[in-house]
């Protein structure tokens, strides 16, 4: 003890003003060369907040994954430029899930037990979410999904899985029915892929259009392996006023082309979900038949005449032009109707962590409770898609939906639904589950 004190005193005695200045100068120089995380000196911990990003880099979801990646990277940069979360920088740790539920679950495990991430975040395809969520719940790592599936609000998952950045398919579909029945027609024929995504549309829209006094004349389910669709079109009843279509995947171009050849110039009204044509240029050869038809959009791909400053801010930072394409490559069309969910989710995580006073993995439960306590989410740079309402019991956000019309190869906004159009009774109360 004595010896240590003496050493300390000796050190103090040898300090000179010049020496101190020199040390400070060296220190400042060294600080400037430090990585970003090391400069967040005001935080209790300078360690970055690690966000495990489960991304579809390969597999059928790769086009979505590419843009989810760009959007998340852009959002993380904005957050870091704002000073991070609770004074700590955000670090995105991305892992490819291969758009596969087995690999997805493995990736969530990797985030929790190898990378020591604070949360897991990201993925779109429902089967990957449903396959991964049980592991997230078991490992007690908050899992923020951007999937638009109804699986979260249906009660199928667990308290550690939340969807605060994008609305679910049930609310999207039911919100379309008032517009379709009032403006396009009441007698609808639905054409959809014969798997769960298509079945969701079949079930939710059929109920919603009947509630509006309309009816679905025929459900035409197309097997997922189908490559030609002409043989299905004679099944469309003659009295059909509206065709509701939600075909997805590479065959959609063939579907539209063959539908155009079948009907010629005298077609019924057409209403579709833009999921069919995400990352596809509406002005592509073969899609001319869609001129004058209507689409649901999660967020308008084309900058509209009354573009909000928030939309402008978001596009600038993600690198998307007024046509919804990459600023560096006009042929690289974004998945604009969905990818805003990544942006908004990351800002919701920021808001949740700040409300919870989040410091580390021991505060994960506090983060869940803080997000569950959220309700109104006003439109802003952080939430450019629109004002939203978060339901803490069902872990699902609700917000506006957009209906656009194809006009000269561009999507022009026709109608914006209210949040009330998208609401439905709660199917679960996750807050009753233990943390």
């Amino acid at each position: 003890m004595t010896s240590k004190t003496k050493t300390s005193n000796t050190t103090t005695n040898t300090t000179t003003r010049r020496g101190a200045l020199k040390t400070l100068g060296l220190g400042a120089g060294a600080a400037a060369t430090l990585p970003l995380w090391a400069r967040y000196s005001s935080a209790q911990s300078a360690e970055p907040i690690k966000i495990g990003f489960q991304v579809h880099r390969t597999g059928i979801g790769a086009a979505y994954g590419r843009w989810y990646d760009r959007t998340s990277t852009a959002a993380a940069k904005v957050i870091n430029d704002m000073g991070g979360i609770n004074g700590r920088p955000v670090q995105i740790i991305a892992e490819d899930d291969g758009t596969d539920p087995k690999r997805g679950a493995e990736v969530v495990e990797k985030f929790a037990t190898q990378h020591n991430c604070d949360i897991a975040f990201g993925t779109l395809f429902s089967h990957v979410v449903i396959g991964s969520a049980p592991r997230a719940g078991e490992l007690k790592i908050p899992y923020f999904v951007v999937s638009e599936g109804h699986h979260v609000a249906s009660g199928m998952l667990n308290r550690y899985t939340l969807q605060p950045g994008i609305t679910d398919v049930k609310s999207q579909v039911q919100a379309m029915a008032p517009f379709v029945s009032s403006n396009l027609g009441k007698k609808v024929t639905m054409i959809f892929p014969d798997f769960a995504f298509g079945h969701d549309h079949r079930d939710y829209f059929t109920a919603a259009i009947e509630a509006q006094g309309g009816e679905v004349l025929a459900h035409i389910a197309i097997p997922p392996t189908e490559t030609s669709f002409t043989k299905y079109f004679p099944k469309i009843p003659r009295q059909t006023e509206v065709i509701y279509h939600v075909m997805v995947g590479p065959a959609v171009l063939t579907f539209v082309k063959e539908l155009g050849e079948f009907f010629g110039p005298n077609r019924p009204e057409m209403f579709g979900f833009i999921d069919s044509l995400e990352a596809v240029d509406i002005a592509s050869p073969g899609l001319e038949f869609l001129e004058g038809s209507y689409f649901w959009e999660g967020m308008p791909r084309y900058a509209q005449a009354d573009q909000t400053p928030y939309d402008k801010f978001y596009r600038e930072h993600v690198g998307v032009d007024e046509n919804g394409a990459s600023v560096s490559d006009p042929k690289d069309i974004s998945t604009f109707a969905h990818m805003f969910g990544c942006w908004e989710t990351l800002f919701t995580v920021k808001q949740g962590m700040e409300a919870a006073g989040y410091q580390g993995v021991a505060d994960r439960a506090k983060l869940i409770e803080a997000v569950e306590a959220m309700t109104d989410i006003p439109i802003s740079n952080e939430h450019p898609q629109g004002t939203k309402l978060f339901n803490g019991k069902t872990h699902q956000v609700f917000g506006p939906q957009y209906i656009s019309k194809v006009n000269e190869g561009k999507l022009i906004l026709q109608h914006t639904t209210s949040i009330e159009d998208t609401l439905y009774p709660d199917e679960v109360d996750y807050t009753t589950q233990p943390l």
């Binding site: 880099r57 390969t58 798997f195």
Partner: protein, 314 residues
Amino acid sequence: MSDRQKTVLLHGGLLALLLGLQFVLPAYHHGNLARIMVLAVYAMGYNIMFGYTGLLSLGHALFFAAGMYGMGMSVQLLGATPAPAMIGGLIAGAVVAAALGALALRTADVAFMIVTLMFAQAGYLAVLYFGSVTRGDEGFVIQQAQRMMMGIDLSDATNRYFAAFILFALCLIAVLWLVQSPFGKVLVAIRENEERARMLGYDVFRHKLIAVILSGTMSAAAGAAYGLLFGYVGATFASVQYSIFPLLWVLLGGAGTALGPFIGTLFMFYLIDLSSNVTSAYMLIAGVALVVLTLFAPQGLIGEVRSRIWRWLP
């Protein structure tokens, strides 16, 4: 030391090592090894048909999925607890294997491969077609409460590891017994020269059919256990890529060896996991590794060990 003693020592040593690793592995690798043991059971099932009987199936996902859905449907529709649900999965796998074997074994070689592939594709499409029950491509969750077996929570990491270990150990012992039994030797005889086996008076069709049923049931056990231990049942596991995986694992590890399926599964799992840390083109790395192994170790890792060092390996 006799070959039998060496066999017991080596395989018993592996099981002891796996049991011991439970207590020392970091959490991430602990979880991985539980998963690998279950998938290795799938590969061992495949190996009974491919490695020992010489029947190249391209449709084994049908059996894996039959076990998974047999278990999952028992839980969802009948409210079964894990043990009866597991038996449901085994029965589903055995029945599907018997039906497929009875039909597909009327063909041989390339035709057999195509028939098994088409049956598996039909099974995959059936899962999608009956989506109102199976939840199609999305699949469904086996909730934590549904995974309680006699008071043991199978979603707990330690319990999951032990459950996977017990299944793996039982199947490894069963395979070792099978291949050293007179029945197993007939299977090898069929693989080496089917006509000669027939001339010697063996009922080749019956032996092959039993091999298909055993192989399908073991694969189904893996599928049922996978769904039960990891809490998810989905159509992806019935898709064609899950028919190709066991073929790759067995080829890598060594067809016709008892340890090969485990080594191949372990190798492939970590090859993808580690290479995905380096590049998004990790499947390219996996592909190159496979080509290199095929060129320089055509009998697989354990197969090469058997041909060069331990000729007694079963």
